[in-house]
Amino acid sequence: MKILVFGMSPQQAVESPRFRIGNINGVSLESRLPSAVRAGLSARGHDVEVVYGWTASFGSVQVVQRLASGMLRTGADMRREAAAMAY
């Protein structure tokens, strides 16, 4: 969605801050999300927890995108061990 709707590169999309839902109305946010989002979600009744750093618990999304030109772009997620390689 970050790539197709907001025009990000795969690497930008992969590094983009994430959320995870918890039980009932709980939601964990990566700390890089704007503080206005924390306040805004709390105001909507979400029980917000902020997680600092790049943690494995938010997954590790890998992407390869083929552009119309045939060029390949990649995203490798540093939340876990990951790498993109050309051959």
Binding site: N23, H46, Q62, R66
Partner: protein
Amino acid sequence: MLSRAQDFDAHEVEWGTPASVQCQGRTVHTVKPNSQGIVLLQMLSMIETLPLAERSNNSTQLLHERVEVTKLAFADKDRWIADLAMAEMPVAPLLNEQYINGRAAQLSASVAAQYLPRFETISFDDVGEGPAEDGDTIFAMVVDEEGNAVSWIQSLYGSFGSKLVVPETGIVLHNRGVVFSLQEGHPNQVAPGKRPFHTLMSTMITDASDEFEMAIGTPGGSG
């Protein structure tokens, strides 16, 4: 011992067809149940019903909507996802446009819904230990210059899975069985010869002319 030698003899590798939905003028393909893949497809389809042109990335409104869409899709995940070979499971109806629109209409623009996982699994207290957070899953993809692509995931679930190794081959057996439901009558209720619900989703996107555009995946981080 829950599994006997003849259970392994009976196992056959399966060539499946993916489940797919339309999204942003493309087609998104992923793995059918017993994978939770269709939950991702439901989420994408529900997000497509939002006025995305009016939403900015990382805005409170869009984050709220994405959180709520996740809860709606996870409720179906908890209720339905199971081994298709052993359980009645409405895959097509869960991805049907009318159904998706109806679910998306339940989303409140301003109030967080209450999500309670209704998926009673084997408690880790019962089996002594749970899978470690670091787990034992790897996701890999490869694309060549002609646009041939592989989106591939391998998982033992917990670190070293069940910690049982087949001596002849060195294959380590997984421990996904802890994700079976113990609830009587649940589609994912534990049963002989049945495969458990799992979270592995190899995903691929093809463009409007059905050519490869994107491979995407993650070795964990459900939520």
